[in-house]
Chain length 341, copies 2
DNA sequence: GACGCTTGATATAACGATATACCAAGATTG
DNA sequence: CAATCTTGGTATATCGTTATATCAAGCGTC
């Protein structure tokens, strides 16, 4: 049923070796036989068995992306960017979603190893244990971690300047006159959040603002909404929130609306990511922008270099985020309009 | 570097055949040697080469999902559902995104064939040509199409009762007293949209309402917003819109807000999908709900049956959608409150 | 003690492609 | 014209597993 190289070769009246060379465009083959083989292949709907090919040649042009959450529009954009870059170089990207579950992630990564994917883009799940990093390192899988850093420098990394970005975000609110600024979406011990929280704390400290408030929540709108309602009930003096992501921020804005208040004038909200929704939210969300598509391309580029030479020293790229002022940040009530510092 | 079965076998002092049997839990092996082999395997960080295994055994527990758009929260939920169902049966799901591009889809599907994935879940890209269906059929790939039907009955299908759902949606608006109802997100010739549009048209016709207006737009918020602005400029008499999806509907609501009007009282909007955003949008969106997670599970279940017996006659499952009334639909201005029929 | 039966393990041939080495025939050279 | 090169092609071992057949040893049975 499934045609193999042997069938193609027989149909074209050549050896499998010759057929193989034609299919790969390798070796020295006369134009006449080349055409004959190609015709036979098309005729039989031949598709080569990549397992056999990759086993023998040691090459695999399928790259894996192990990500913590597919359902996030930011991540989806990253995937698009990475995919485009890889495709332009003749590779292909398949995605496995761990949903931040370490057991599922383990299964996913083992599947990548089992199929000897050509390389691996990876956003490690929270609480990923060392054994998992060891596994990849032990198998010599060309790996680039993304966003969440770890693995003790054994892997390349592409990420965001989180610390600096949250200094900027918090600083922006402070500049506007806010003193009680909370951080929404914190708590987890993982690298990214601690970097971000550190940036937030640094400004709260340097500018001598009120005591930091870190409020936990997951990364989606509904959680952001609930967390904001909670926060407001417990800390009514908070006039501004820095959010761990746009999803949370948009949820928070929805909560503020539900409370009969207005984001930007009653409570200021600043997000992170600049997802498509941010610009068309009501009101449009002030946020820290990084281009996820470009980030994805960058990520893929680093991976390609690693794949081409697995002996290079590991590298690390951090991309800065940029403040995009829209309408959810403003002066707190009771602070007079004055020149910005 | 990469350990193979031979190394494990040698370390345990047995043959590769024995080691293989231990790793698979097959054959008759004494408890003592079983333990010795397992220990050796763990010791060497052994992970079996799935390519070789699947080549020899003809089995592959990695399932592919070829989808038209990862970045859609509805689809993301479907993926989660399918993934959970498959995992519970010891399979694993990897996702390739075609972004509705037929060339990219072709490459993706060929990759699935090359690696001989155990089965295939597939939302065909718009304008998929027959040759692509033929390709899968020719290779005997166990395939279930999802949402978009085609392939002339050669594949199992899981989908939504689109026609009936859009009769319900349009009927709901008609019941409220609307006469000028537009369809937002139409035009493409593909199955799903024509089914939906047919349902809409049927009601417009049966109830003797104004002439149908079909307005084209892509499936995201920004496009929905632009389309709604456009529609309003050209057809100011429209008092209600049925949308092809929640993303479009939410975009449309944003547009209505921008125009200084209120969704639900000035212009009614009804969506489709009931994504998470629908419930927390401002105002909350009336929509036709199907549970994407359950849909994903169902899809996976059908695929598993197909994988287990590829000679079964093909089946088709259509899941109904359900009206969820929230706040974006109401009586048109100027129509008196009256008993619902 | 020859016979069958069970248990635990092994030797070996696939699976489908590709890398390597090799070869025949014609063309080129000194 | 013998020696060398080029061209176009093939035979074969190999990648890492697993399925199949086979086998030796122990054990009971008549």
């Amino acid at each position: 049923m499934k045609p193999k190289l042997e069938n193609v070769a027989k149909a074209a009246g050549v050896s499998t070796a010759t057929a193989s060379q034609v299919m790969r465009g390798a070796g020295r083959i006369s134009e006449a036989t080349r055409k004959r083989v190609l015709a036979a292949a098309k005729d039989l709907h031949y598709v080569r068995d990549g397992r056999a090919a990759s086993m023998r040649s040691g090459e695999n042009r399928e790259i894996g992306f192990a990500i913590h959450q597919i359902a996030n529009p930011f991540n989806a954009e990253v995937i698009s960017g990475a995919s485009d870059m890889l495709e332009s170089e003749g590779y292909l990207l398949s995605v496995l979603d761990s949903r931040d579950d370490v057991a599922r992630q383990r299964r996913n990564l083992e599947a990548f190893i089992q199929s000897s994917r050509g390389g691996l883009l990876w956003v490690p799940a929270e609480d990923t244990d060392d054994a998992t990093y060891d596994l990849l390192a032990a198998h010599g899988m060309p790996t680039v971690t993304f966003l969440r850093r770890s693995g003790r420098g054994r892997f390349d990394h592409v990420g965001i300047e989180n610390h600096e970005a949250f200094r900027t975000a918090t600083g922006h609110l402070a500049d506007l006159g806010h003193r009680h600024i909370a951080y929404l979406g914190g708590s987890a011990q993982f690298g990214v959040r601690t970097e971000r929280i550190a940036g937030y704390r640094a400004i709260m400290d340097e500018r001598d603002l009120a005591a930091p408030i870190i409020w936990d929540t997951r990364d989606d709108k509904l959680s952001g909404l609930e967390a904001m309602l909670d926060l407001y009930a417990r800390h009514p003096d908070v006039t501004a929130v820095v959010c761990n992501g746009d999803m949370v921020a948009i949820g928070a804005c929805a909560a503020i609306n539900m409370l009969g208040l207005t984001p930007g004038s009653d409570i200021s909200v600043i997000g992170f990511d600049d997802i498509q929704d941010a610009a068309i939210a009501a009101p449009p969300l002030t946020t820290m922008a990084v281009s996820p598509y470009d980030l994805g391309r960058k990520l893929a580029k680093v991976a390609l270099e690693r794949i081409r030479d697995n002996d290079m020293p590991t590298s690390s790229v951090l991309v800065p985020a940029e403040l995009v002022e829209r309408e959810t940040t403003g002066r707190p009530r009771g602070v007079n309009r004055q020149k910005r510092p």
